[in-house]
């Protein structure tokens, strides 16, 4: 109700400038890196119940963004690149996008989109007719006037853009609040340097009021001469994209001041959970620590569902027992998650060293295994090769190429040997 009233007011003010000619409040939602219909990656989704709940999480999150626009009766939605994954080839995705943007169009809300590196690979929107209120900026700088606000944007034409796109933007328009849309790794984002890097200082000095950025999945806000916002993604897809995920609601005041609010949109949140096992001597104590950590995580994070990865840290006395019974501990975690109801377990990680080595012969044998020796490594490499040949193509690279296999064999061998020793020793050392 409140929304509809505001909507009316806004239309009136927007279409008919005030008698003094001063610009009136302009509100928009800024998001990026939606990766629409990109599947979640977690072993927790083996549980059909979770799969049914959050299987379409990126869609649900995007629907949430559109709902937010409608509820807040904003003037525009800005999507700063990577609407899709490059691998996204289903026209169903594009149709869904068109339908959601259609809801904004029907409510008179404008949509501005630039293509990111991933979109550059995607072909699916080209065949689709988007609603008239949607502007997709091209590889050359474009401007869309929305009343007293000028939205500038440049899209990625290719998956890689080694040079800054900033010099290619037009000058800010006089008498308007200028907003720039750019997909960039920004400076200091290591490993992202082929994605249109640019310096924050340059953005601040550009004369634009607001920079709507995209590409980096972690949210960051920089205030200064310009407000520069990397909104992060609205929905994380795996444990690498852990944490709360959100969009940014921006208000450009009548006096040109810009206000920024974060609005959480993720329907499911990935999170690592540290479980301190140092000094724990018996298994039930470890299970209790794990349960407490899971409950604390549920208390601390607000997303409707949580996919957690417990990381057992500092296990010393129980290290050998852990090497043997990690599956039992995982089952405990899953049972606790089930008891909580909205907590799901991705997998269980054990961090830290080998723990307290057992004394006597077993300890001596364990120490000898630190260097498995060339014969064992060669036999191990053969075993890996045999399995890799049997794996589907999509998985083969996970086990390294023939050149890079040794390190992987050594690591897996160390992990496996600890488990086998623990199994043979019958749980010695815990």
């Amino acid at each position: 109700m409140r929304g509809s009233v505001r909507r009316r007011d806004r239309c009136a003010r927007f279409r008919h400038p005030s008698p003094t000619g001063a610009p009136l409040a302009f509100r928009f939602v800024h998001t990026a890196d939606i990766h629409l219909d990109s599947p979640l990656k977690s072993l927790a989704l083996r549980d059909p119940a979770l799969s049914a709940r959050v299987g379409a999480a990126t869609r649900e999150a995007f629907r949430g963004v559109v709902d937010l626009c409608l509820r807040e009766a904003v003037d525009a939605l800005l999507i700063a690149g990577d609407l899709y994954d490059g691998s996204q080839t289903s026209m169903k995705t594009a149709r869904y996008l068109a339908a959601e943007l259609g809801r904004l169009d029907a409510a008179g809300i404008a949509t501005c989109i630039i293509r990111g590196n991933h979109d550059a690979e995607a072909r699916i929107t080209r065949e689709l007719v988007l609603p008239p209120s949607v502007t997709v900026f091209g590889a050359k700088a474009g401007v869309r006037r929305l009343g007293d606000v000028a939205v500038h944007g440049i899209s990625f034409a290719e998956p890689h853009a080694p040079n800054s796109l900033l010099p290619r933007f037009g000058a800010p328009q006089a008498g308007a609040v200028n907003i720039g849309m750019m997909h960039t790794s920004l400076n200091g984002s290591a490993g992202h340097d082929v994605y249109a890097p640019c310096a924050l200082a340059d953005l601040m000095a550009s004369g634009f009021g607001y920079w709507a950025l995209g590409h980096v999945h972690r949210r960051s806000v920089h205030l200064g001469a310009a407000t520069v916002v990397m909104p992060g993604m609205p929905q994380g897809r795996d444990i690498g994209e852990a944490g709360a995920k959100s969009v940014t609601l921006v208000t450009v005041g009548d006096d040109g001041r810009i206000g920024v609010e974060e609005r959480v949109t993720a329907v499911v949140q990935f999170q690592r959970v540290s479980v301190q096992a140092a000094g724990l001597a018996d298994w039930p104590a470890l299970v209790r620590a794990l349960q407490q950590a899971l409950r604390a995580a549920r208390r601390d994070h607000g997303a409707p569902d949580l996919i957690l990865r417990p990381v057992i840290e500092g296990a010393d006395m129980l290290a050998w027992r852990l090497a043997r019974d990690r599956d039992l501990l995982l089952a405990e975690a899953q049972a606790e998650g089930e008891a909580i109801g909205t907590v799901w377990i991705d997998k269980l990680e054990v961090a830290g060293g080998p723990g307290i080595a057992p004394a006597g012969a077993l300890g001596e044998l364990a120490a000898m295994l630190a260097d498995p020796g060339p014969a064992a490594l060669a036999e191990g490499a053969e075993a890996v090769e045999a399995l890799v040949r049997a794996l589907p193509a999509a998985l083969r690279d996970r086990f390294g190429t023939e050149d890079s296999r040794d390190a992987m064999v050594t690591a897996l061998m160390a992990e496996g040997a600890a488990g086998v020793l623990a199994l043979l020793a019958g749980g010695e050392g815990g």
């Binding site: 219909d37 599947p39 979640l40 990656k41 977690s42 072993l43 989704l45 083996r46 799969s51 299987g55 379409a56 869609r59 080839t89 289903s90 026209m91 169903k92 995705t93 594009a94 149709r95 869904y96 996008l97 068109a98 339908a99 072909r123 699916i124 080209r126 065949e127 689709l128 006597g360 012969a361 077993l362 001596e364 044998l365 000898m368 498995p372 020796g373 014969a375 064992a376 036999e379 191990g380 075993a383 890996v384 399995l387 794996l391 589907p392 999509a394 998985l395 996970r398 086990f399 064999v409 897996l412 061998m413 160390a414 496996g416 040997a417 488990g419 086998v420 020793l421 199994l423 043979l424």
Partner: protein, 1135 residues
């Protein structure tokens, strides 16, 4: 672990044996040599050590002296820095005891053994000849790898190899070659997901194709529609013209009809209809008026014919009243005779009743008593029988009770004397009866007799020993230790004697067989010299002669010489043998002397033992006998002593029983005296019991009699009271009866039956009297009704002037006349009403007719017609013309509309000259063309719909997303499983290789140790040990100092045993390096070692004693000397 002391408390032949190894001495090797001759118990001590650690075996061979229940081994053991005092007894559990014989857990010792079980300890570190060899072979043969047991157990990783093999064999659920396991199943699921996606999904290119297909279909549809439009328009034109042709024909017909019509002025609207209505109204009005006049005439005639009767109508009320009396009159006439008869009959019955009551002629009303009096009488009559019966019953019971009382009193009168209180006596008697002391005493006496007999029998079995039970019990016999000593001494002497006898026998045989025979042949040196001289002479003769004779002579001489020489050689050999035999014989003779000495010593031992035994036995009053016989006699004595004890017990029982009898008799005698019965001293318990029983029975009978008398007297009193009560009730009834008779007006002396009869008569009289009064009343009323009715009818008849006659007939005539008069009056009223109505209607009809006529006239005049009929004709003509004009206009309009022409003229022009058939043919042709083009369009439309549908079918649903999600999850699962599989697999590989390296490392260390020990013990004859592959396994070989190698089986027994010992030595050192070791115990394992190698072996064991405790048991004194020589700190012990 260290053994400080071993106590053979009761174990094997030991009783209280002890081996004390003492505390360890710092800096000195913990080496102990225990010397004991044969049979001293070395093997027993070794076995006791194992039994102490692991429990006495279920079927122990060391229970020949001390039975299982008494076997016991003790020890002081040092472990973990403490000294534990432990004992082991035989049993199922809790057999290891600590301080104060409290059971201690087995783990106390097992823990200190580092996982060695009995078999392992026996084969590794508790050795005798047998286990040294068996264990050594099992080490060499152990499955596929040299000394796996030794190395593995020595290294503490026993069980790893089989565990690893089991893990290796466990099938991997994820990946099994070539196409099984979860991976294969997952790949199949992946393929299904991909196929589902391919089926459900549309990519950009596919979508573009769908769009193009839709647009193509739309183009085709539009072209088809365009081609269909022209023929459709042409067809519409032809159809219009064809449809217009009939309209044109109709228009022309109407126009022709109009041309033939006169041009009349149009009449006002509705005239034609009005005229027709007026004509119709006029004819109807005239008809109705005629009918009304006819009806009026009829009504008037009927009215005139009616005559009214007002007189009778005036009397209508009185006539009604008289008619109401008619029913009473009629009923009286009918019933009166019967009712009068009934009244007479009742009067007769009343008179008769009064007569019976003795009141003839009296007024019944005066005679009848009131109801209450009669009711009282009835009640008293009913009560009378009850009151009387109660009295009769009471009288009878009083008589009965008095009779009973008199009998009871009479019963008790004859008894004399009073019996005292016997309750206590009865109780006492009961208890004595329950206890039955006499029977118990009799049983006890029998038991004493039986025990006495048995004892006598057992004492007889002890003959020649003579004496009674007391002497037997007091007999002091030699203890089991003494007897065992005798037995052992006897056995020893007997064994020594047997050995000596056997030796003597053997030596005698040797002496007998060794007699040196005289030398046969008797060749002497002289004979030889003579033969040689003869040969030499023959040779010289032959050399001189060189003829056949000399040759033969020489040959003969030579042959004789050879023969003599041969015999001489034999003789010499014989002589040598004889000399040797004599030496041997001398030895034998010497040995025989020794053996005879041993025999004499043994016999002397036996005799002194026998003498000692005889002295000891005679002290007990026994003749000399063997220890075994003594043991047998002692067993019989134990039985006899038991019999003596049993007799004693039986005697005690008999005394107790006798005391019980006396006590019972005393009790009863006192009880009887109390009851006033004197008891003789000779009367036994049984007699007293009988007397007490009789006394008690008599007392009980007396008490019962007295109770019966008291009950009878009380009963009489009770019954007499009941009788008095019944009499009072009867008197009361009599009083009430007299009063009731008076109240009912009956004679005071009336009996109950007379009264009952009078009451019945009175009840009948009362009913009859009531009926008679009612009947008389009814007769009177009926007579009044009859008379009243006649008077009323007569008065009415005269008032109406009618002839007087019987009342009923007159009444009927009056009623008929009234009915006639009433009917006439009613008809007159009806007719007059109808006349008035008919007159009003006729007037109105006349007026309406006149108005209709006037209107018709006005219309005829107004239209200038001759009359109404003319007017009607003119109106019809005008109406037809107007209709035709309207039709023409409508047709013209329809024509214009059909042809889409502006006016009729143009329309007519358009149709001018057109032929219907030509048009029809043209329409058919166009119709066919349009149909054909329509089919094309339809197909194009369908194609467009389908293309559009396919496009719409792509949809924005999340089916593909869910498939992608499932695929991603499946891939993750596969990766995870693959990683787990590889970790497992690689872990196994790493541990297998690691374990092998670990074994190699330790094996080489042990092999070095074993090599060194072996080299030392063989005094360098062997350089060491090595392994070498043989088929699938490795075998251990000994490396000879001079090069070359030998398998263990190929070594001499002594060297092989040295190899076995070397392996144990290496294992002991290896184990000691890992932690504490148990003592190394060996029982004469160096039988096959020469002294040098034995010395080296002691040196090696001294080395072991530096890291653990070494105990060597031997029966060779010289080994003790060697040990002391090699290791001066060795501690020697004697067993």
């Amino acid at each position: 672990m260290r053994l400080r002391r071993l106590d053979l408390v009761r174990y094997g032949r030991f009783t209280g044996g002890c081996l004390d190894f003492g505390a360890p001495v710092a800096g000195a090797p913990d080496l102990h040599v225990v010397y004991g001759p044969n049979e001293a118990g070395k093997s027993t001590a070794l076995n006791a050590w194992l039994d102490l650690l692991f429990g006495i075996e279920a079927q122990s061979g060391y229970a020949f002296l001390h039975p299982y229940a008494t076997m016991r081994i003790g020890a002081e053991v040092e472990t973990g820095g403490r000294v534990l005092a432990l004992s082991r007894i035989k049993g199922n559990k809790g057999t290891l005891l600590g301080e104060s014989d409290r059971p201690v857990p087995e783990a106390v010792v097992l823990g200190a053994l580092g996982g060695l079980d009995r078999r392992a300890l026996r084969e590794m570190f508790s050795l005798d000849d047998e286990t040294l060899e068996a264990g050594g072979n099992s080490i060499l043969d152990s499955d596929g790898e040299v000394g796996q047991l030794l190395f593995a157990s020595g290294a503490g990783l026993a069980g790893f190899a089989p565990g690893l093999a089991a893990l290796r064999k466990t099938p991997d659920p994820f990946f099994r070659a070539p196409r099984s396991g979860a991976l294969t199943e997952m790949k199949a699921r992946l393929a299904t997901l991909d196929a589902d996606r391919a089926r459900l999904d549309t990519d950009a290119r596919g979508y573009k194709r769908l769009l193009e297909a839709r647009d193509d279909a739309r183009g085709v549809l539009e072209a088809a529609e365009a081609g269909r439009r022209a023929p459709m328009a042409a067809l519409a034109g032809v159809q219009r013209r064809l449809a217009a042709l009939p309209s044109l024909r109709a228009l022309e017909g109407v126009e022709a009809r109009l041309a033939g019509m006169p041009d009349l002025a149009a009449p006002p609207q509705g005239w034609a209809a009005e005229l027709a209505a007026l004509e119709q109204a006029r004819a109807a009005g005239a008809g109705r008026l005629g009918a009304l006049c006819t009806a009026l005439d009829g009504l008037r005639a009927e009215r005139a014919a009616l005559v009214p009767d007002p007189a009778v109508l005036a009397e209508r009320g009185r006539i009604g009243a008289v008619a109401a009396l008619r029913s009473g009159h009629d009923e009286a006439v009918k019933d009166l005779p019967a009712r009068r008869g009934e009244a007479a009959a009742l009067a007769l019955r009343i008179a008769a009743a009064l007569d019976r009551l003795g009141r003839a002629g009296a007024d019944p009303a005066q005679v009848l008593p009131d109801r209450a009096a009669v009711a009282t009488l009835r009640a008293l009559i009913e009560a009378r029988s009850g009151v009387g019966q109660a009295l009769d019953t009471a009288l009878g019971e009083v008589a009965l009770a008095r009779g009973a009382r008199d009998r009871a009193l009479a019963d008790g009168a004859g008894e004399a004397g009073v019996v005292g209180d016997t309750a206590a006596l009865a109780l006492l008697l009961r208890r004595v009866q329950d206890e039955a002391p006499v029977a118990a005493h009799s049983r006890a006496t029998e038991a004493v007799d039986a025990a006495g007999l048995a004892l006598d029998q057992r004492l007889r079995s002890l003959l020649p020993w003579a004496g009674g039970g007391v002497e037997l019990a007091g007999l002091v016999l030699p203890g089991p230790g003494v007897i065992a000593g005798w037995k052992a001494g006897g056995a020893q002497a007997s064994e020594a004697r047997a050995t000596a006898v056997a030796d003597l026998r053997r030596l005698d045989a040797g002496l007998a067989g060794g007699v040196v025979a005289e030398v046969a042949g008797g060749v002497t040196l002289d004979t030889v010299a003579e033969a040689r001289a003869l040969r030499e002479a023959a040779w010289a003769a032959h050399r001189a002669a060189l003829d056949a004779g000399s040759a033969s002579a020489f040959e003969a001489a030579m042959r004789r010489d050879d023969a003599v020489t041969a015999r001489l050689a034999e003789t010499l050999a014989e002589v040598r043998r004889r000399a040797e035999a004599e030496v041997a014989r001398a030895v034998l003779v010497q040995e025989r002397g020794l053996a005879a000495g041993r025999l004499a010593a043994a016999e002397a031992d036996q005799q002194s033992l026998d003498a000692a035994m005889a002295v000891a036995l005679s002290a007990c009053g026994l003749p000399p006998m063997s220890p075994e016989a003594l043991e047998g006699w002692m067993a019989l004595r134990r039985v006899a002593v038991d019999g003596w004890d049993a007799l004693g017990a039986a005697r005690k029982g008999e005394a107790r029983a006798r005391a019980a009898v006396d006590a019972a008799r005393a009790g009863l005698a006192a009880g009887l005296a109390e009851a006033g019965v004197s008891v003789g001293p000779d009367e036994g318990l049984t007699v007293l019991m009988a007397r007490a029983g009789a006394l008690c029975a008599l007392a009980a009978e007396r008490v019962a009699q007295q109770q019966a008398q008291r009950r009878a007297v009380a009963e009489v009193t009770l019954r007499e009271a009941a009788e008095a009560q019944a009499r009072a009730a009867l008197a009361e009834w009599q009083g009430r009866w007299v009063a009731a008779l008076a109240a009912a007006g009956m004679a005071a002396g009336h009996s109950v039956d007379a009264a009952r009869e009078d009451i019945a008569v009175l009840e009948g009289l009362a009913a009859d009297h009531r009926a008679h009064v009612e009947l008389a009343d009814r007769v009177t009323k009926m007579q009044a009704n009859e008379a009243g009715y006649a008077v009323a009818v007569g008065a009415l008849g005269s008032a109406l002037g009618m002839v007087a006659e019987a009342s009923t007939r007159l009444a009927d005539a009056i009623a008929a006349r009234l009915a006639q008069a009433a009917a006439t009056a009613e008809r007159v009223d009806v007719l007059e009403g109808k006349l008035a109505v008919a007159l009003r209607e006729a007037g109105a009809q006349q007026q309406a007719l006149e108005a209709t006529e006037a209107r018709i006239g006005a219309m005829v005049a107004g239209f200038g017609a001759a009359d109404a009929a003319d007017l009607a004709r003119r109106l019809a003509l005008a109406a037809a013309r107007v209709q035709a004009l309207d039709e023409a206009a409508r047709l013209a309009e329809a024509l214009c509309e059909a042809l889409e022409e502006p006016d009729a003229g143009a329309a007519r022009a358009a149709l001018a000259g057109l032929d219907r058939d030509v048009l029809t043919a043209e329409r058919q042709a166009l119709d066919d063309e349009v149909t054909a083009r329509g089919a094309v369009s339809q197909a194009a439309y369908a194609a467009l719909s389908e293309a559009q549908q396919r496009l719409d079918g792509v949809g924005g649903d999340d089916a593909v997303l869910h498939l992608a999600e499932a695929r991603e999850t499946l891939l993750l699962e596969m990766a995870d499983e693959a990683e787990a599989h590889l970790a497992r697999r690689l872990g196994l590989i790493a541990v297998e290789h690691g374990l092998r390296r670990y074994r190699d490392k330790h094996r080489s260390a042990m092999l070095d140790a074993a090599s060194a020990a072996f080299r030392t013990m063989t005094r360098g004859a062997y350089a060491g040990l090595a392994t070498q592959p043989e088929g699938a396994r490795e075998v251990l070989v000994a490396l000879s100092a001079g090069g070359g190698s030998k398998r263990a089986a190929d070594l001499s027994k002594g060297t092989r045993f040295q190899l076995y010992l070397a392996l144990r030595v290496a294992a002991y050192h290896e184990r000691a390096a890992q932690g504490p070791v148990p003592p190394f115990v060996a029982d004469d394992i160096m039988e096959t070692f020469d002294d040098d190698r034995a010395a080296e072996a002691f040196a090696v064991m001294a080395g072991m004693a530096g890291v653990g405790q070494v105990i060597y048991l031997t029966h060779h004194r010289h080994l003790c000397d060697i040990a002391r020589e090699v290791c001066p700190q060795v501690r020697l012990h004697q067993l």
